[in-house]
C-alpha cells in the first residue's frame, strides 16, 4: 500500500509540473472582503481595547487619556487577582474533568455497535440547549428551597450548594461539563473513526490488548483533536461569562466573579469603561498567550496530519 501511494505521488508531481502554469491561481484579492470585515469587527476592537485601557471614560464624554493610571490601579486591585485565580481554577478544573471523559466517551461511541449509536444520540441532547438555557435549568434544579438538594437533603448535607465558594465553583464545573462534554466527545468520536483500522490490526497481530491499543494507537492518533478540543476549552473557559451570570451571578459575594464577569460589571454596571478595558486587555493577553502556546507545543500552525508517514 505504501508503495502504491508513493507511486501516485510521483506521478502527481510530474503531472503538476507540466500543468501548473496553465491554471491561474486565485490572488489574495479573494480574501480581501472577508479580511476587511474581520479587521473592522475583530482586530480593530482589539487595538481599541488596548487604547481605551489607557483612558478614563464614562461612555458619555470623550475618553480622557490617563496613561498607565488604570494599569497601576489594576496591579493593586486584590479583587482582580482573586478573579484571575478563580478563572484559572475553573479553567483547569474544566479541562481536568472534561478532557478525560470526552476522550473515553468519544472513543467508546466511535464503535459501530447498535447500543452505542442509540446511547450516543441521547448523549448529544445537552448540546441542543443553549448555554443560557442550561444555566437557567441548573439554577432551578439546584435551588436551595425547591430544587433537588432540598428534596434529597441527606445526599447533599447543606441544601444551599451554591452558597459557598467551593460549592459554587464545583457547580460551575459540573454544569459546564454537562453541557460541553457532548461537543468534545463528538470531536473525539469523529477523530477516532478516522484512525486507520490497519493500525489496530497490526497491534492485534503483535498481541497488544485493548488498553495497550488505546494508549499506543488511539491516544497518539487523537493528538490533533486534543489540541483543537483543548483550545476550545481554554478560550471557552476564559470567556465563560453567561454561565456565571446566570448560575451564580458572580456569587456568593464576588467569589465566582471570573475575569469576563468583572469586566462586564465594571463596564456595563458601573460605567467605568477605561478600567474595564484594562481588565479586557488582560483577558485578551491571557487568551492569545494560551492559544499561541498550544499552537507552538503542537505545531498546529503547520497543519500536519496524523496520517503522515503511513
Amino acid at each position: 500500500m505504501v508503495s502504491l501511494t508513493s507511486a501516485r505521488l510521483v506521478r502527481n508531481r510530474k503531472a503538476r509540473d507540466r500543468a501548473a502554469p496553465t491554471l491561474e491561481r486565485p490572488g489574495v484579492g479573494w480574501a480581501i472582503p472577508g479580511l476587511v470585515f474581520f479587521l473592522v469587527f475583530a482586530v480593530a476592537p482589539m487595538v481599541g481595547v488596548l487604547y481605551l485601557s489607557l483612558t478614563s471614560w464614562d461612555g458619555l464624554n470623550a475618553p480622557q487619556f490617563t496613561g498607565l493610571a488604570n494599569w497601576s490601579r489594576f496591579i493593586d486591585d486584590g479583587q482582580i487577582w482573586q478573579s484571575t485565580l478563580v478563572t484559572g481554577v475553573l479553567l483547569v478544573g474544566n479541562i481536568a474533568v472534561q478532557a478525560p471523559i470526552s476522550i473515553l466517551l468519544g472513543v467508546w461511541s466511535a464503535g459501530h455497535q447498535r447500543n452505542r449509536a442509540v446511547l450516543s444520540a441521547i448523549f448529544f441532547l445537552p448540546l441542543l440547549l443553549s448555554t443560557a438555557a442550561t444555566a437557567v435549568m441548573w439554577r432551578q434544579l439546584l435551588d436551595p428551597n425547591f430544587g433537588v438538594p432540598a428534596k434529597l437533603g441527606a445526599l447533599f448535607g447543606d441544601s444551599n450548594v451554591l452558597g459557598t465558594q467551593k460549592g459554587a465553583i464545583i457547580c460551575l464545573i459540573i454544569v459546564t461539563s454537562w453541557q460541553f462534554v457532548p461537543f468534545h466527545s463528538l470531536l473525539y468520536q469523529g477523530a477516532a473513526r478516522a484512525i486507520p483500522n490497519t493500525l489496530y490490526q497490526a497491534a492485534e497481530i503483535d498481541g497488544a490488548g485493548r488498553v495497550r491499543q488505546f494508549i499506543h494507537i488511539t491516544l497518539p492518533q487523537l493528538r490533533n483533536t486534543m489540541v483543537t478540543s483543548t483550545t476550545f476549552m481554554v478560550i471557552g473557559g476564559l470567556t465563560a461569562f453567561d454561565i456565571v451570570l446566570l448560575l451564580t451571578n458572580g456569587g456568593p459575594g464576588t467569589d465566582t466573579s471570573i475575569l469576563p464577569f468583572s469586566m462586564y460589571q465594571t463596564a456595563f454596571r458601573t460605567y467605568d469603561y477605561g478600567y474595564a478595558s484594562a481588565i479586557a486587555s488582560f483577558l485578551l493577553l491571557l487568551a492569545t498567550g494560551a492559544s499561541l502556546a498550544l499552537m507552538k507545543i503542537s505545531g498546529y500552525d503547520k497543519m500536519t496530519s496524523t496520517l503522515e508517514g503511513l
Binding site: 502527481n12 500543468a19 501548473a20 491554471l23 491561474e24 491561481r25 486565485p26 490572488g27 489574495v28 479573494w30 480574501a31 472577508g34 479580511l35 470585515f37 474581520f38 473592522v40 469587527f41 475583530a42 482586530v43 476592537p45 481599541g48 481595547v49 481605551l52 473515553l104 467508546w108 441521547i122 448529544f124 448540546l127 441542543l128 440547549l129 443553549s130 448555554t131 443560557a132 437557567v136 435549568m137 432551578q140 434544579l141 435551588d143 425547591f146 433537588v148 454537562w178 461537543f183 470531536l187 473525539y188 469523529g190 478516522a194 489496530y200 492485534e204 483543537t228 478560550i235 476564559l238 470567556t239 446566570l246 463596564a267 486587555s281 487568551a287 492559544s291 499552537m295 497543519m303 496520517l307
Partner: protein, 272 residues
C-alpha cells in the same frame, strides 16, 4: 475484526446516561406540571397531573417572537460567514505567496480573540454605525467572530481536493472563479456543512452580543428572553423551565430530521 463486548465501558456509559438523563427528565417533568405540584414534590417526583399551561404562559409572553429573531440572526450570520469565508479559504489554499500565508495565520491567531475582551470598543463601533438595538448589531460581530473557525474548517476541507482535479480544470482553461464554482465548492460540501452548523450554533448560543447590543423588546433573542424570564417569572419555576424547553425546540426539530447532518457537521470542527 473481533469485537469482544467491553463491559467496563458499558457500565461507565450507563453512569453517564444517568448524568445526562436525570437533569433532562427533571427539566421535562417540571415543565409539564402545575406550580403547586412542583412546590410540593420538587423536580424529580412524578407529578399528580400534567398540564400544558406553562407553555401557554411562555407563548403569551411573546417568546415565539424571540425564537423568530434568533432564527433570523442565525440565518444571516451563516450567510455572511459563508459569503466571506469561502473566498478567503480558497485564496488561502490555492493562492501562493506570503500574503495568503499571512491571511491564514491572522485567522489562526484570530481564533483566540475572546469576544468578551473586545466588547467595549465593539459596542462603540456598533453605536457609530447606528446599529445599536438592531438585529444587525448582533449579526455582524457574531459573523466576524465565527470567521476564524470557518476559515480553518473550510481550508482544511479544500486542502483535501486532489491535484488531478485541478489539472483537469486547467486543461479547460478555467478561471479562478470557475474553479471555485465548479470544483472547490461542490467538493468541499462536508466542510461547508460543518461551518454552517458551527456558526448557526454559535449564533443560537450567543448571549453577550444580544445583551450589550440590544435593549428593546422587539429585538430580543431567545437567550436574553430566558435571562429576563428569571427575574420576571422567578417564582414560577415550571413556566421558566417550559421556556427553557421551548428555547431548544427549533434545534430539536433539526436534530430529529437531520441528525446525521448535524452530528457530522459538528464532528468536522475537530479537524484531522
Amino acid at each position: 475484526m473481533r469485537t469482544r463486548p467491553n463491559y467496563v465501558a458499558g457500565l461507565a456509559a450507563f453512569v453517564w446516561l444517568l448524568i445526562i438523563g436525570v437533569p433532562l427528565y427533571a427539566l421535562v417533568n417540571t415543565a409539564v406540571q402545575p406550580q403547586t405540584s412542583y412546590t410540593d414534590g420538587g423536580p424529580l417526583s412524578i407529578p399528580s397531573h400534567l398540564t400544558l399551561d406553562n407553555f401557554a404562559t411562555v407563548i403569551d409572553s411573546g417568546f415565539l417572537h424571540y425564537i423568530w429573531n434568533t432564527i433570523f440572526v442565525a440565518a444571516f450570520t451563516v450567510a455572511i460567514v459563508l459569503l466571506l469565508g469561502i473566498p478567503i479559504s480558497y485564496a488561502v489554499v490555492r493562492g501562493r505567496g506570503w500574503l495568503t500565508r499571512g491571511v491564514f495565520r491572522l485567522f489562526l491567531v484570530g481564533l483566540a480573540i475572546p469576544s468578551q475582551a473586545v466588547i467595549i470598543p465593539l459596542f462603540l463601533i456598533i453605536n457609530r454605525l447606528n446599529l445599536y438595538d438592531s438585529l444587525w448589531g448582533i449579526i455582524l460581530p457574531t459573523a466576524a467572530f465565527a470567521l476564524p473557525v470557518t476559515v480553518l474548517v473550510l481550508s482544511g476541507g479544500m486542502r483535501d481536493i486532489g491535484t488531478e482535479l485541478y489539472e483537469a480544470m486547467a486543461l479547460d482553461g478555467a478561471s479562478p472563479a470557475r474553479v471555485l464554482r465548479e470544483l472547490v465548492i461542490p467538493m468541499s460540501r462536508p466542510s461547508i456543512a460543518t461551518a454552517c452548523v458551527f456558526t448557526a450554533l454559535q449564533a443560537w448560543n450567543g448571549f453577550l452580543f444580544p445583551l450589550i447590543m440590544t435593549q428593546s423588546e422587539d429585538d430580543k433573542l431567545v437567550t436574553l428572553g430566558l435571562y429576563n424570564f428569571v427575574s420576571q417569572y422567578g417564582a414560577n419555576v415550571p413556566a421558566l423551565l417550559a421556556a427553557v424547553l421551548m428555547s431548544a425546540a427549533p434545534i430539536l426539530v433539526v436534530y430529529l430530521f437531520a441528525r446525521r447532518a448535524l452530528v457530522a457537521g459538528l464532528m468536522g470542527a475537530g479537524g484531522k
